[in-house]
């Protein structure tokens, strides 16, 4: 069998033009599919950056909240009730809102301000410069050093700015796991300062972050919160809710799906058509092999091997190309949002298998039908 497969391999790769066309077709399709779905994955991940960076196990939110960007403030009593629920180890408020910062140069810049619970500073980012206690200092803010950091004109410790006509001082530089989706820098401060500096409605608590005493308590906490008319979600559930919003309620999901299907069709058309031409050109040769004594199933193995080999090589090239592009783009464009996940790769792999399957089917159908007698009589 190895000899027959080696024969199939040589017949395939020695036809350099066809082989190159097949590889280009599949690699291009994979590139597009992985690229598009990676951008989508990147967007989805960034859309959940607040949830991921904060690291709370349970989030209490207004049921109307679909994304952390647009929080619906909750009254203070909700925090008290949540704290009184059996199974809650501790519960703290979190403020999240937008503000306008006037930088040293006089330029105005939108920022997201995250107000941490004054007592615990639960959900604080990891500092790379400064001391966390300095957040309590007068007008103290912590800037996040992510892709948006330069929009704050690369502040250092002690840099002064204006936030909604209040004085602000950078007392720490922090790093977070993921930066936000909309290209806006993030500033951390205390909850009380945040609600003082930023105009608020009647209620000020954007989210309540809950640490349960045990994982088993989560279900009970969720039930109790629901009784109040609010929603308690684990961080995974909240991320899922955000993803659902972007996928199903913004049109992004449908557009990504359409683009992916187009990529698939492009790849399928190029590779299936090229492979079909390859089979047609070699049809007489396959017929001659049949006349010499190759069995039908051996011809099927040969064709399956050829399509599988081409598909996997094209898949590797496509993924490599996409990785290279994303790596380069991430270096050059700070806001570039793309992330290759196992799901992207698995999805593209399945699509490639389908392309290989359809191409094989077309080839096998043709080859199986050829009669050695047709070859013999010329």
């Amino acid at each position: 069998m190895i000899g027959i497969l080696r024969l199939a391999y040589k017949l395939l790769v020695n036809d350099k033009a066809k082989f190159a066309a097949l590889l280009v077709g599949i690699a291009f399709a994979v590139f597009l599919m992985v690229q598009i779905t990676s951008i989508f994955a990147g967007v989805l991940e960034k859309s959940s950056s607040t949830v991921i960076n904060t690291g709370a196990k349970i989030w209490v939110i207004d049921p109307g909240v679909k994304t952390p960007v647009y929080s619906i403030p909750m009254p203070d009593y909700v925090l008290d009730v949540v704290r009184s629920i059996n199974g809650v180890k501790h519960a703290v408020p979190l403020y999240s809102g937008g503000a306008l910062v006037k930088l040293r140069s006089g330029v105005y810049q939108s920022v997201t301000v995250v107000g941490l619970d004054d007592t615990s500073l639960f959900g604080r980012p990891e500092l790379i410069e400064g001391q966390i206690e300095d957040i309590y200092a007068e007008n103290g803010f912590i800037a996040v050093k992510d892709q948006e950091f330069n929009k704050l004109e690369n502040p250092g410790l002690g840099t002064v700015f204006e936030l909604n006509d209040h004085r602000g001082v950078i007392v720490g530089i922090a790093k977070v796991a993921i930066s936000g989706l909309f290209g806006i820098p993030t500033l951390y401060t205390t909850y009380s300062r945040a609600i003082q500096y930023i105009p608020s409605m009647r209620y000020t608590i954007s989210y309540i972050l809950v640490e349960p005493k045990s994982n088993e308590a989560t279900a009970y906490i969720k039930r109790e919160v629901k009784r109040m008319g609010y929603e308690a979600l684990t961080s995974d559930e909240f991320i899922h809710k955000i993803i659902n919003f972007y996928v199903y309620e913004t049109g992004v999901g449908m557009n990504i799906l359409i683009m992916t299907v187009i990529s698939f069709i492009v790849g399928l058309s190029i590779s299936a058509q090229t492979f079909y031409t390859f089979i047609l050109e070699n049809l007489e040769k396959f017929g001659a092999l049949k006349a010499i004594g190759v069995k039908g199933r051996e011809l099927i193995y040969m064709i399956l091997f050829q399509t599988t080999f081409t598909s996997l090589t094209g898949y590797g090239l496509g993924v490599g190309l996409c990785s290279l592009l994303i790596a380069t783009a991430t270096l050059k464009v700070p806001d570039y949002t793309a992330k290759i996940t196992y799901l992207n790769l698995g999805f593209a792999f399945i699509m490639v298998l389908i392309i290989a399957g359809i191409s094989s089917y077309i080839g096998i159908r043709k080859v199986i039908k050829i009669e050695p007698f047709d070859i013999f009589r010329g």
Binding site: M1, I2, G3, I4, R6, L7, K10, L11, N14, D15, E284, K285, G287, A288, L289, K290, A291, I292, G293, V294, K295, G296, E298, E371, P372, F373, I375, F376, R377, G378
Partner: protein
Amino acid sequence: MANLSVKATELVKWFGEGEARTYAVRGVSFEAYFGEMLYIVGPSGSGKTTLLSMISGILRPNSGTVMVENKEIWSLTNNEIADFRLNAVGFVFQDYHLFPRLTTAENVAIPLILKKHNWNESIKAAIQYLEIVGLKERAYLPPVKLSTGEQQRVAIARAIVGSPDILILDEPTASLDGDTGRRILHFVKKNILNETRSILIVTHDSRIFEYADRIMQMEDGKITEILKGDVDEK
């Protein structure tokens, strides 16, 4: 009397059904022997290629039997017939059907590779057979770099590399000039034919008749005449 290699009895083959039915071979019987070169000649459409296809396990007859070394080949399964073709029959197709993307040696080695021999050993054996047909130095060239006559010899090497009992040549001189055709047939008779092999040739090229041991004339699906030799000559 020489050993019988092929015995065809009352072979019938038709194509199409109903009013469109056309008889290609009508009740042909003949025998071929080891050590002989048997020609089947006749005009186009006389059924000679169809007859040879039924003998070589390529085309199933509508009726009649083909005994090869006392085995009725059309009682075998499709896979067994494929094995029969691979092991007992060597083909030289009219258009040669060499693979342009493989080297000459790889082309010749194909039957051995299909028999699951080791690749390198198959190539080594192929080169030995290329030496027999005088093309050893062309072993690593693609067939497209060879002349038509050389390609013919490569096809012959491929046909004999698996040591088949029956060698079938379909219009072997169709693409060759007269001299080359005669040289090839002379070569085949002198170097390829032996006491354990019979060679069946379909041709209508009378310039190579001199190399035949026997010549059967076919017309309209029947053997009409023995042009050379005799049915019982062997």
